[in-house]
């Protein structure tokens, strides 16, 4: 009877499913048409397509359930000799077979067209399809089961979203920022799978309950609770919990001889390397987002004071990266009063939580490394205590990354498969001042990567550019938007103003190459430094 109901629904809804699959195909076509590089006009114009596909899947799921609605008491099927279990299975089958499966096949075909291996293509497509089922299809089926119409379903969704926003606002304004997971994304894979678990279990429970008992109010309550819990996990999952989970999965802590200490003999500015603004792992950010980020940073700068404590790091291995996942700071007066306690990278002022993206990152330096620990303090607190001696305690949760063998690709016109990145290509950007490296990755987005522009004839090298976006999951991160992720970066070789000169400049760029190094995390450990007595004003950057 499941098949019989399926056929009835198919007769009614095949055009809708076909439309969604066609949009999915159109969305997939963007990758081969657009090629390796971000930022084309086509990409900007079609940016919304993947989201349209999600919406389409949800509409199909809701609509197919409404063909034999549960929340109504007027539907003919309710008085027909049908097993509700069969009806439920028919609806699930409909979404899987007419939408999710064709979209998965499109993903496989897309990857095969890009010359990725069949096994990888099927694996990637299957995992993405599974995620879409968990995160879109199943919840949408549940929404359909507890609503009367598509409009009703939209209202239900919007009401949930508003409720959720209120929840986050209340939580963010009342809970300590040290509790909230706003500072770091390292636990994302844990919270993501926690959300998936909640969505699958909750949606299945609500769907089963509704089909078994038609207690719409109860099923609705469960559905709403699932949405709230899932979204709250995404936004509010405590970093302390993710750290604990991550460490328990990681095995025994292993600092591998790396030690951190306060070293007042280091004077002057920061010795750590700045991250390159041109390098980006994952999707690009729009100009609007960049402007919003800049405004946020400027807002933070007006409310905080930066103090740079000199930090000595010893025991680093060549090629290693050390990344702090969490830094907690305590400032205690000489009489033992705690003057400040909080995350080293966030501060709270007024009603908002201000977070800087700055953090401790030490790149590929062997032996003894000098760095600077930047403390961000509320400006009023700083003004009050800057001249008195205080004790500063800084706790670190650190991860050590090691490098994969460096790969090389021509700086211009290169097209090569790089083992840790996928199919990569290079070109000069439209301004003529940067080399663009773009990769279509079949292995997922790496946590950290570094690139150097090198002239193989003279062995001259430009400064290394690098960035970390640490993910500690047992698998590489993949985007949900597209089956094939793009990794993109821009490497400057020419200063358009003419003020700076690069070792590998315009003259050498024709035969230059890019050395690409991908890093993976290998060990995690915690450490703590204590500065017994220090005046903060002595370590604040000079004004003006």
């Amino acid at each position: 009877m499941v098949w019989h109901i399926f056929k009835k629904d198919f007769r009614l809804l095949w055009p809708l499913s076909l439309a969604v699959v066609l949009v999915g195909a159109l969305s997939a076509l963007r990758t081969p048409v657009d090629g390796h590089f971000y930022g084309s006009l086509l990409e900007q114009l079609t940016y919304f397509l993947p989201y349209l596909v999600y919406l389409g899947i949800a509409i199909v799921a809701v609509t197919v359930v409404h063909q034999d609605a549960l929340a109504e008491s007027q539907d003919d099927w309710l008085v027909r000799p049908l097993l509700r279990r069969d009806v439920a299975l028919a609806k699930v089958l409909f979404v899987l077979l007419t939408v999710n499966a064709p979209l998965m096949i499109i993903d496989v075909l897309l990857q095969l067209a890009l010359h990725f291996p069949l096994s990888v293509s099927v694996g990637v497509a299957a995992s993405r399809a599974l995620l879409l089922v968990f995160m879109v299809s199943l919840p949408a089926l549940t929404v359909g089961a507890v609503t009367r119409s598509l409009v009703n379903a939209f209202v239900f969704g919007i009401a949930s979203a508003i409720g959720y926003v209120l929840l986050v606002v209340v939580a963010a304004s009342t809970l300590s920022p040290s509790v909230l997971g706003l500072s770091r994304a390292m636990g994302t894979w844990i919270s993501f799978w926690a959300v998936s678990g909640v969505m699958v279990i909750g949606s299945t429970a609500a769907l089963t309950l509704q089909y078994a008992t038609r207690r719409t109010l109860v099923a609705r309550s469960i559905g709403l609770a699932v949405v709230f819990v899932a979204l709250s996990i995404l936004a509010l999952f405590p970093t302390t919990v993710t750290l604990e989970i991550q460490e328990s999965l990681w095995g025994p802590p292993n600092s591998d001889g790396i030690r951190l200490s306060f070293d007042p003999s280091i004077q002057g500015g920061r010795s750590g390397q700045e991250t390159s603004p041109g390098y980006r792992i994952g999707a690009p950010i729009s100009a609007a987002v960049a402007a919003a980020n800049a405004a946020l940073v400027a807002g933070v700068d007006r409310q905080i004071e930066k103090v740079g404590l000199p930090l000595s790091i010893s025991g680093m291995h060549a090629g290693d990266i050390l990344v702090a996942d969490r830094i907690d700071v305590r400032i205690v007066s000489m009489t033992g009063n705690v003057l400040y306690q909080g995350p080293g990278v966030c501060t709270r002022e007024g009603t908002g939580i201000m977070c800087s993206t700055n953090r401790l990152e030490v790149w590929a330096k062997a032996g003894h490394v000098l760095n600077e620990e930047e403390l961000y303090l509320p400006i009023r607190l700083y003004q009050r205590i800057k001249d008195e001696p205080v004790r500063v305690e800084v706790s670190y949760a650190l991860t050590r990354f090691v490098a994969h063998p460096t790969q090389m690709i021509k700086a211009i016109g290169g097209l090569k498969a790089l083992p840790e990145l996928g199919s990569c290509a290079t070109r000069i950007d439209s301004d003529g001042d940067e080399v663009q490296l773009g990769c279509l990755t079949d292995v997922g987005v790496p946590s950290c990567a570094g690139v150097v522009l090198e002239d193989p004839q003279t062995h001259r090298r430009n400064p290394e550019l690098h960035q970390c976006n640490p993910r500690y999951g047992p698998y590489r991160r993949r985007g949900l938007r597209d089956a094939v992720d793009r990794v993109g970066l821009s490497i400057p070789f020419r200063d358009l103003s003419g003020l700076a000169h690069y070792p590998v400049g315009s003259a050498a760029i024709e035969h230059a190459r890019i050395d690409v190094t991908v890093y993976d995390p290998v060990a995690h450990f915690r450490t703590r430094i204590t500065v017994p007595s220090v005046r903060l004003v002595d370590w604040a950057p000079p004004k003006g």
């Binding site: 009835k8 009614l12 063909q67 008491s73 539907d75 309710l78 008085v79």
Partner: protein, 298 residues
């Protein structure tokens, strides 16, 4: 009893739609559930069909608790309602083809004869049918499997007399083989169909009895007096709708018998010239009972 309801209650929020309804329908009978709009007829039927859950009370249909009605029972129940939702984008023949495999005893010949008799266009989409045609379509989907119980919820609402007669004719052809529960506020619709009648008002069953008993015990009575009439003091409780116009006293006797009526009239109206007694059409019976119920409630 093919249907048995006991203390059935249903509340929508703070509004009580049913307040302890008791009802029984004997096998082979045709019970008309009558009552004004909003009296609770549709709610009663939806509870009996397990389309709604009762707030309290229990009911059985075909001997099974309505909350546990299964495929076995639904395979023996035909249901037609004025607001029944049938897939609008399927054609008549497509929907019948969908339903056929659900019923082991679906009679294809009977289906064809019903389609012919009701003049239903097989290739027309259900959504394109008129209201009357949709009702006939619903009936065509409820009869071919020869249900043991046919439930009709306000089936004639909005139907023109011709369609209504076609509909009824079709029902009556199979009526002997099944039990019929029909809800309506139009008593003319059940004339000649119902064997029993249950009157529901404000969620409460006021009475239930056979049609012959009901029509037998209610009479309109007119008493001609030799002087101007006055409303009699101490009129019997069995008199409803008591009116006085000139020399005429009229009322509805709800416990009619030749012998008792004379004695009752004599007790309150000693000087009378003539007494006229006439049987009442169903509509008048319903109106009198409804007015009385409203008067008591108000």
């Amino acid at each position: 009893m093919i249907i048995q309801a006991s203390g059935l209650c249903k509340a929508y929020g703070r509004n009580d739609a049913l307040r302890g309804l008791n009802l029984s329908v004997a096998e082979g009978s045709a019970l008309a559930l009558i009552g004004a709009n909003g009296a609770g007829k549709t709610t009663t039927i939806k509870l009996l069909m397990n389309m709604l859950a009762p707030s309290s009370g229990t009911a059985t249909v075909l001997g099974v608790d309505t909350r546990r009605l299964s495929r076995t029972e639904f395979a023996q129940i035909g249901y037609v309602s004025e607001n029944q939702r049938i897939p609008r984008r399927l054609t008549v023949s497509q929907y019948l083809a969908y339903l056929r495999p659900l019923y082991a005893n679906w009679d294809r010949e009977l289906e064809n004869s019903i389609l012919t008799q009701l003049r239903l266009p097989p290739e027309r989409k259900i959504g394109d049918l008129s209201h009357g045609m949709r009702m006939k379509m619903a009936l065509a989907c409820a009869l071919p499997f020869r249900p043991k119980l046919l439930v009709l919820d306000e089936p004639f609402s909005g139907l023109d007399p011709l369609v209504r007669d076609e509909f009824l004719e079709r029902v009556l052809e199979q009526a002997g083989a099944m039990t019929v529960l029909i809800s309506t506020h139009e008593l003319a619709d059940i004339d000649g169909v119902a064997t029993d009648v249950a009157f529901i008002d404000d969620g409460t069953l006021l009475f239930q009895e056979s049609m012959s008993a009901l029509t037998g015990r209610l009479r309109r009575v007119e008493v001609l007096l030799d002087q101007e009439a006055r409303a009699p003091l101490g009129a019997p409780l069995s008199w409803l709708d008591v009116r006085v116009v000139g020399n005429v006293l009229s009322f509805v006797e709800t416990q009619f018998s030749e012998e008792a009526l004379g004695a009752r009239i004599a007790a309150v109206v000693p000087r009378r010239i003539r007494v006229d007694v006439e049987s009442m059409p169903l509509r008048s019976i319903f109106t009198a009972l409804a007015r009385n119920a409203q008067r008591k409630a108000g």
